[in-house]
């Protein structure tokens, strides 16, 4: 604090947020104090330059809608993955792992992973991470259809029966 004016009060005054009483006190002091007047002018000039630089940076870094959309999609995707990774039901996780182990020797490891992802994508779950006990049945139906198209009806029946959750029919 110098001459009874704190740093916070200077900042508020320069930003135009100071109360009427504080503004009056500072202005009354500035009339008679050359040192504070020069300090005020320096700060005021620096603040104006900062504001101008901010405006210039904002103009230069404008994001297009497409870029903004891509960034937001990435953020939401990460949020969804992080949010769901820890919450996948252990039974669902176990069943998915088991289905992969049934699919892989027949269709190949990579094709098995793709089949699970495609079935999830085309089911109400929309993604493998979002498969739950509630949307398991439609997911399994999609997977059965994929298995039938790839390896025939017997294999599709195997996938269907192996994929049934415990306690369901």
């Amino acid at each position: 604090m110098k001459h009874g004016i704190s740093e916070q009060e200077w900042n508020d005054y320069l930003d135009g947020r100071a109360t009427a009483a504080v503004s009056y006190r500072i202005e009354a002091h500035l009339i008679g104090c050359l040192e504070c007047w020069e300090f005020y002018e320096r700060l005021s000039c620096a603040t104006q330059q900062l504001l101008a630089a901010c405006e210039e940076a904002r103009q230069g870094l404008t994001l297009e809608d497409r870029q903004l959309h891509a960034m937001l999609r990435g953020v939401f995707s990460r949020l969804r993955t992080e949010g769901s990774a820890g919450t996948m039901h252990p039974q669902v996780q176990g069943q998915l792992h088991m289905l992969h182990s049934v699919l892989a020797p027949f269709c190949g490891t990579q094709a098995a992973a793709r089949a699970l992802q495609t079935a999830a994508k085309n089911s109400p779950a929309r993604s493998l991470e979002q498969v739950t006990l509630d949307n398991w049945e439609p997911f399994l139906e999609k997977l059965k259809a994929i298995a039938a198209a790839m390896c025939g009806d017997t294999f599709a029946n195997l996938i269907w029966e192996r994929g049934q959750l415990q306690g369901s029919n």
Binding site: V102, A104, P105, F106, C107, G108, T109, Q110, A111, A112, R114, A115, T118, N122, A145, I146, A148, A149, M150, C151, G152, D153, T154, F155, A156, N157, L158, E161, R162
Partner: protein, 299 residues
């Protein structure tokens, strides 16, 4: 279910037995200990060829019956069965045995006509079958893709066959008295070129699938498709003095070519046997699963 009996192992034994017999029959003549056992060789080749395509035909039909819910895959295997059936008949009418009934039959125009009448529809069925199989996989949406370098290689193979067709004027049926034979032979060769190029799609799909029984089926189909193309093409390059696609088993080169053609026959049988075995394995696992469930929850 025949698939349970005609396993890949049985087909492999068939191939190995035929090759062993043919080598065993050829070697004494090659070392000058005896004359060629041409009749016996012809009998072995004919029986083995008919057996291999017979296996492929019945197994393909069984596999097609497995795809009740997948019309494109069903169509693909029905067309492969048709290809096997036509190839079986072709193997029959092109048998070296006829040479012993009618002299010069194998190199004559009648055999050429019969050959081409069967080759063109057989190749058409094979191409349509492969296309149906590709479309069936594509529709599932698993994201299998043919890469740019594959397309370039496919274009190269097709271009090589086109070049062969354009620069080889003396196709074996070029002087045939049958107009149909003269027209069908280049068509059959062009189809073979397209099919060989398409073999690369099968290769790419097999790679993208990873390991597994289905990838093995694709690889054997690719081998069947490509080996045919390679044999015809190499014959055109290595024996430019001989008319393309004319049978002659006079020397070692031609004997080796005959041997490799026999491998082609078994390659299709092997592909279908592996595919049929997939169903057998799935059925066994399903049976075991149901038995386990029945034990846990007695009805």
């Amino acid at each position: 279910m025949l698939a349970a009996r005609i396993t890949p192992k049985v087909v492999a034994y068939g191939l190995a037995a035929e090759l062993a017999l043919l080598v065993g029959l050829y070697l004494p003549a090659a070392f000058g200990w005896s004359s060629r056992f041409r009749l016996t060789e012809a009998i072995v080749m004919t029986i083995a060829g008919v057996l291999a395509f017979g296996f492929a035909l019945v197994l393909s039909l069984e596999v097609a019956a497995e795809y009740r819910q997948a019309p494109w895959a069903r169509l693909a295997w029905l067309l492969l069965a048709a290809n096997a059936g036509l190839s079986l008949v072709k193997r029959g009418v092109g048998s070296p045995l006829f040479d012993f009934v009618r002299e010069g039959y194998r190199t004559g125009p009648l055999r050429g006509l019969l050959d081409n009448l069967l080759v063109v529809p057989a190749n058409l069925c094979l191409l349509a079958g492969l296309l149906a199989m590709w479309w069936g996989f594509h529709r599932i949406g698993l994201g299998f893709r043919v890469e740019r370098r594959d397309r370039a290689a496919m274009a190269l193979i097709a271009a090589l066959f086109l070049t062969l067709l354009l620069y080889r004027e003396n196709l074996s049926q070029g002087q045939s008295p049958y107009v149909l034979s003269r027209m069908l032979q280049p068509l059959g060769l062009a189809l073979l070129g397209v099919i060989s190029a398409f073999g690369l799609v099968l290769h790419r799909y097999a790679v993208q699938m990873g390991d597994g029984q289905l990838a093995r089926v694709m690889r054997w189909l690719m081998f069947y498709v490509l080996l045919r193309g390679v044999l015809v093409f190499s014959r055109g390059l290595l024996s430019p003095q001989l008319p393309l696609l004319l049978d002659s088993s006079s020397d070692l080169d031609e004997w080796a070519l005959d041997l490799l053609w026999q491998v082609v026959h078994w390659a299709l049988a092997m592909a279908t046997a592996y595919r049929a075995q997939l169903t057998v394995s799935a059925a066994a696992q399903l049976k075991q699963l149901r038995a386990t469930k029945a034990e846990i929850v007695p009805v």
